[in-house]
């Protein structure tokens, strides 16, 4: 399959990537991660051999950048067991308690839940993208949902 022009590729996936990153790291940090994600993609793009699933490819990169963002946030000298809430997000209708609860999930569960329900990926793909198995992905989604049910008030 011929690689599409990068602009066409970005237009096709920018909404998914941005939405995924907002769900992962919050609206405030989403833009930085978005820039990093597409910079990495652009650097690698001409040498990309398998263009059959560009969506999974860019979401995998986005996922890695989100993990990096979490790590670097942890490295900051913030004396906290729990990550501090990024208090600057506007309390709009989009910023629901559900999304705060998702961001509280452990990393693997958060990624699995987001890939499953935000990105609508199959468990096999999620396993591959998160460096584990289909079974592990299924389990992470299950565990994540269980925690969310407890935290989520309708």
């Amino acid at each position: 399959m011929e690689l599409p022009p990068f602009q066409v590729f970005m237009d096709a996936h920018r909404d998914d990537v941005f939405r995924f990153l907002v769900a992962c790291v919050g609206a405030e940090e989403a833009d930085d991660c978005f820039q990093e994600t597409f910079l990495s993609a652009l650097r690698a793009y001409p040498r990309l051999e398998d263009s059959s699933n560009l969506r999974a490819w860019i979401l995998t990169i986005a996922h890695r950048k989100a993990i990096d963002a979490h790590r670097s946030r942890k490295r900051r000298p913030v004396p906290a067991e729990k990550l501090p809430e990024r208090g600057t997000e506007p309390a709009t209708a989009r910023d629901t308690s559900l999304w705060n609860a998702v961001r509280e999930l452990p990393g693997k569960q958060r990624a699995a839940v987001l890939h499953r329900f935000v990105n609508d990926l199959a468990y096999a793909d999620i396993g591959q993208m998160t460096g584990s198995s289909e079974e592990a992905a299924r389990r992470n989604v299950h565990e994540g949902l269980k925690k969310l049910r407890g935290a989520w008030q309708t």
């Binding site: 011929e2 690689l3 599409p4 022009p5 990068f6 602009q7 066409v8 970005m10 237009d11 920018r14 909404d15 990537v17 941005f18 939405r19 907002v22 769900a23 609206a27 989403a30 833009d31 978005f34 820039q35 597409f38 910079l39 652009l42 650097r43 793009y45 001409p46 209708a93 989009r94 559900l98 999304w99 998702v102 839940v113 329900f117 935000v118 609508d120 949902l145 969310l148 049910r149 989520w152 309708t154």
Partner: protein
């Protein structure tokens, strides 16, 4: 599906934020030198004009009859590099020069050109064509001769018809020896428009010209 799963599937969209982030990204990537082909579209009296440039210079201009921006971008991606991005700010100078040209305030372009979409005889013809001054016209035959093959006027015509950088490489200034306008890739009415703008449309040339 549980209510929770349904709610999770409905992450609100961030289309406006994503679009803004993508525009910022394109500017940033161009600044980092990671864009092999930048392009944008500009408005003009001859309709929307797509302009594209590489690190070397202006490589493609497309407009007129049957022009499809998506197809042009695809073609650039295949022929030059898939690292193609829309970077409007990259073309501030080009936009200004084109505006001045269409307002009749500019008679030559001061823009570096990238000839990589041309080859051999066609490139020779187009390079000679680039030197035809504003307000003057030439013929297919003369262009063929200037490129070294006086009898290859038909090939010269093809080269001009496939000119990747029209307007700036003024193929509209090349006419039939008999005085007819000849053809134009962007549509004959646009050739007429450009020649009239430059005051050199046959039959309408100002007295004494």
């Amino acid at each position: 599906m549980s209510k929770l799963e349904t709610a999770l599937r409905k992450v609100p969209g961030y289309e406006a934020e994503a679009a803004a982030a993508a525009s910022r990204f394109a500017e940033h990537a161009a600044h980092e030198g990671l864009v092999d082909v930048a392009y944008t579209t500009v408005d003009s009296p001859v309709g929307a004009v797509l302009v594209a440039a590489t690190h070397r210079g202006l490589v493609r201009i497309a407009f007129g009859a049957g022009f499809n921006a998506d197809e042009v971008v695809e073609d650039l991606s295949e022929r030059i590099s898939p690292r193609v991005l829309e970077v409007p700010s990259y073309f501030d100078g080009v936009r200004r020069e084109l505006d001045e040209y269409f307002e009749g305030r500019r008679t030559s372009f001061d823009l570096p050109l990238d000839w990589q979409l041309t080859r051999g005889f066609a490139r020779q013809v187009l390079r000679r064509t680039a030197k035809i001054p504003y307000g003057e016209v030439s013929t297919y035959q003369r262009m063929a001769a200037a490129a070294g093959s006086p009898r290859a006027y038909r090939a010269a015509g093809n080269a001009l018809g496939a000119n990747p950088i029209p307007i700036v490489v003024p193929c509209h200034r090349v006419l039939h020896s008999g005085g007819g306008l000849g053809g134009y890739g962007g549509g004959l009415e646009r050739k007429e428009f450009l020649l009239r703008l430059e005051g050199s449309l046959p039959g309408e040339r100002p007295a004494g010209a």
